[in-house]
């Protein structure tokens, strides 16, 4: 019965979202305040019912109810309980239910924390969010119902969760990623509401900014976790494959990053207005496109575990409707928004100004997104046009992405020092001198010490460029910080006292920018100094890799909860001193009879030792992959820092002003908006 309750709750939630889509919007045009307020309660009600539905599915998993098709396909009695819970979002149907739950969470958050917004705006935002959940609710109920039964002949044992997904990474990665994807729906709803109302100004930007920033934080953390999961769980030490599904998450992130920057211009200077709106629409459209690419199975991908053309068509139609209607609205209403308060002084800026720097940032980020989009969709288009089956490899993506990132980093250094309206070029040159010299010397000297031997043969130009760009960003940021701490007295002690006085958004920018540098350092150095050896070893063998000696001590059989494994013991020595003992496994999961490599790693800030068992060869011999990966951990450390930066910015006091009674001016603008829309 639990499953039926879940199904009914989902249907109720759909009905509530239909009401949420229609009533507040109609109320905002007709000027009925009660109708507009209803959106808030409907959003909360929808959350309650989607949560009930989600809880029912979780209960079905925990109780091993294999009469549900979805549970039977993705769970097993032997599956450990924490994985039974995470198996809820391990495949298509459940992950869509998670989507719906997270959308309901965001809508409820908007309903609860929008008391300071004009009612017309908040009701329209909620109405648009309601319309999106109608789309997803219909999608789940019509094409991918997780509560479908197999009756009367239901299996007694389930098919088990894909072993690759039986991991801590899968418990946390999808919810984080979805929080980000779906979070952009709030940005989208704000943008569409602004277009409908024709009211779009600094106040709007200040309201929307914390929402956009928090969605972006979740997406950042989600992508970082995904990359980390791929690194240790796929078993072969790669952390980014330019796989279509990875690209699908990176594209909204790039546009989201552009949006986070452009909205600051809109807030502080009133410029970039229609551009900001367009980015908000684009970020959510790309999130939907990502869902389409992942869930329709149109692209060959490690993530395309299941595919179904009917679902693909539904999402494509939904995507077309959302993108088409919002762009049409943008085309019709964008000029209205742009003209409003279009004082020429407000938007003018010179060639060398913070606005120009942020524009450069936006152009680079959006171009990077565009080239990833082309590379990802090209095989699909070529297939449709019968040009042959093509796959676009990493060289294409690296060729564009690496120089663009370097360009961004160079600009980033200058951007922190630049001023609104106009920056003195002389000043930039002066401030940049010391960081430039430090970065140049670090870039030229450090590669000598990082390589295995101090010789020109191992001197790497890539390392020079990576180090130069990273040091440049860090030193420029630190110099700016040092200068900002000078508030009347340049003594060191008084500067340190000022540390707490800088606003959260400033700290956010600093931490995120330094995070980019740390991440770039990890990417660059680990790709240059990574040493990998595939070797054939019998117990007792000793192999040297990049200054470490690995010995294959022994091989045992171990029994896990739902798998049996061959477990090797491999010791790593440096200068004859034991550094680590590693236990890589080759597991065989019983339910699916599927073999999986479980790598063993010894993690460190400056290097990871990474060992995985390949396959058994003749006799006692095994194929073994030994990896020494310098600085690889910096990639995810940087990613986390970028997320932390965003979080600091969200928590900036300026956006958490206590609820004030509605001021005269907002009440007036609300009244005029109602009048205008009623006409």
């Amino acid at each position: 019965m639990i499953a039926e309750y879940g199904h009914i709750a989902l249907i109720v939630a759909l009905c509530l979202s239909v009401a949420q889509a229609i009533v507040p919007m109609a109320g905002s045009f007709a000027g009925y305040r009660t109708w507009m307020r209803l959106g808030h309660s409907l959003a909360l009600g929808q959350l309650v019912f989607v949560a009930i539905s989600f809880a029912c599915l979780t209960a079905a998993f925990v109780q091993d109810d294999f009469s549900l098709q979805y549970v039977a396909n993705n769970s097993n009695t032997l599956l450990p309980t924490q994985f039974k819970v995470s198996a809820v979002w391990g495949a298509h149907e459940g992950s869509l239910l998670l989507w719906a739950l997270i959308l309901a969470l965001w809508s409820a958050a908007v309903a609860l924390f929008s008391g300071h917004l004009p009612l017309v705006l908040s009701s329209r935002v909620l109405s648009i969010l309601g319309a999106i959940s109608v789309g997803f609710g219909l999608f789940i109920l019509l094409t991918s119902n997780p509560f479908a039964r197999i009756l009367p002949f239901s299996p007694t044992e389930g098919g088990d969760l894909n072993p690759l997904l039986q991991d801590f990474g899968l418990i946390v990665h999808p919810p984080m990623l979805y929080m980000g994807y779906v979070g952009f729906s709030v940005a989208f709803a704000f943008a569409v509401a602004a277009l409908i109302g024709g009211q779009f100004d600094s106040a709007w930007a200040r309201w929307a900014r914390p929402w956009i920033n928090s969605a972006w934080v979740f997406l950042t953390i989600g992508i970082t976790l995904g990359s980390w999961w791929a690194y240790y769980e796929l078993g072969w030490g790669g952390w980014w494959f330019w796989d279509p599904v990875e690209n699908a998450s990176l594209m909204p992130w790039l546009v989201g990053t552009a949006l986070v920057h452009s909205i600051s211009v809109t807030e502080k200077r009133g410029a970039f207005r229609s551009w900001t709106l367009l980015l908000a629409i684009l970020a959510f459209s790309l999130s939907l496109l990502g869902t389409f690419l992942v869930r329709s199975g149109v692209l060959t991908s490690v993530h395309a575990f299941a595919n179904d053309p009917e679902r693909g068509i539904f999402i494509l139609a939904f995507l077309g409707l959302v993108v088409g209607s919002s762009l049409l609205l943008f085309a019709l209403r964008g000029p209205v928004v742009q003209r409003q308060q279009g004082d020429i002084e407000v938007v003018s800026y010179s060639g060398l100004s913070r606005e120009m720097m942020l524009l450069l940032n936006n152009v680079l980020l959006v171009s990077a997104m565009a080239m990833i989009l082309i590379g990802t969709l090209y095989p699909l288009i070529a297939d449709v046009l019968d040009l042959g089956k093509i796959s676009v490899g990493p060289p294409y993506f690296n060729f564009f992405f690496v120089p663009m990132t370097l360009g961004l980093m160079v600009a980033m250094g200058f951007a922190v020092f630049s001023r609104w309206k106009k920056t003195d070029a002389q000043m930039l040159r002066q401030k940049g001198m010391l960081p430039f010299l430090i970065s140049l010397s670090a870039a030229l000297i450090l590669p000598l010490f990082l390589a295995e031997s101090m010789s020109w043969a191992t001197y790497s130009i890539t390392a020079v460029i990576t180090l130069g760009a990273s040091f440049w960003v860090v030193t420029m940021s630190l110099e700016d910080l040092w200068q900002k701490l000078d508030r009347g007295s340049s003594a060191v002690s008084s500067r340190l006292k000022n540390l707490t006085k800088l606003p959260g958004s400033y700290w956010g920018m600093q931490v995120a920018h330094i995070g980019i540098a740390v991440c770039a350092l990890g990417v660059g150095l680990s790709s240059v100094y990574d040493v990998q050896k595939d070797v054939r070893m019998v117990p007792g063998d000793r192999v040297a890799v990049a200054g470490y000696e690995f010995t294959f001590d022994s091989l045992n059989f171990v029994q896990g909860p739902n798998f049996g494994a061959s477990r090797g013991q491999i010791s790593a020595y440096k200068n004859d001193r034991l550094v680590a003992v590693l236990y890589p496994e080759k597991r065989k999961y019983e339910a699916r009879n599927q073999v999986m490599t479980e790598a063993a790693l010894d993690a460190g800030l400056t290097r990871d030792l990474y060992v995985s068992l390949g396959e058994p060869l003749k006799g006692d011999a095994w194929a073994i992959r030994l990896h020494v990966k310098p600085f690889v951990r910096c990639i995810w450390l940087g990613g986390l820092m970028i997320g932390l930066g965003g979080l600091l910015s969200v928590m900036d006091k300026r956006y958490r002003r206590r609820r004030k009674p509605r001021t005269l001016s907002t009440a007036q603008s609300e009244a005029t908006a109602i009048e205008a829309s009623a006409q």
Binding site: Y378, G388, K389, Y396, M596
Partner: protein, 156 residues
């Protein structure tokens, strides 16, 4: 010209130039780095280009996997049901690589029409067959059926 207009014009010119540059490069790089997929039949018949990077896929033929005793060299055959293609590779094979299962190999075809693979991909899930391989097998199966029909017709 009005300073604002001038500024906008500069911006537009900059954007157009950047877009043109990027599009040109994208088209070039896609041509350089797009790897085509070929079936074993296309490669064995010499239809596929030699010494260009490409991908080939099919089912691993039962009993065709040969291993070296003292290195990680391995040789196996893949088939689309029509022809068999020999693949050689040095390294570790993926977990789900097995005889009778689908695999995709990427690398270059040498003068003996052997694919020297730098990477071997197998499916990630035991129920999943890569769409290219499924298509190739279907096409090969149809071709075979038609051949049989023709042969049957000629016997009559």
């Amino acid at each position: 010209m009005h300073p604002l207009r001038k500024q906008r014009l500069q911006l537009v010119i900059l954007l157009v130039a950047a877009a043109a540059l990027v599009i040109g490069l994208v088209v070039y790089m896609l041509r350089e780095n797009g790897n085509f997929f070929y079936t074993p039949a296309q490669i064995v018949s010499g239809e596929a280009p030699q010494s260009t990077f490409l991908r080939a896929g099919g089912m691993v033929v039962d009993g065709s996997v040969l291993r070296s005793d003292d290195s990680l060299w391995v040789q196996f055959k893949i088939t689309d049901g029509v022809e068999m293609l020999t693949v050689e590779h040095t390294g570790i094979l993926p977990d789900l690589f097995a005889e009778g299962e689908a695999a995709i190999a990427s690398g270059k075809v040498d003068e003996n029409l052997v694919l020297q693979a730098t990477q071997i991909l197998a499916k990630h899930d035991e129920k999943y067959t890569p769409p290219e391989v499924a298509d190739a097998m279907n096409a090969a199966y149809k071709a075979k059926q038609e051949d049989k029909k023709e042969q049957a017709g000629s016997y009559k």
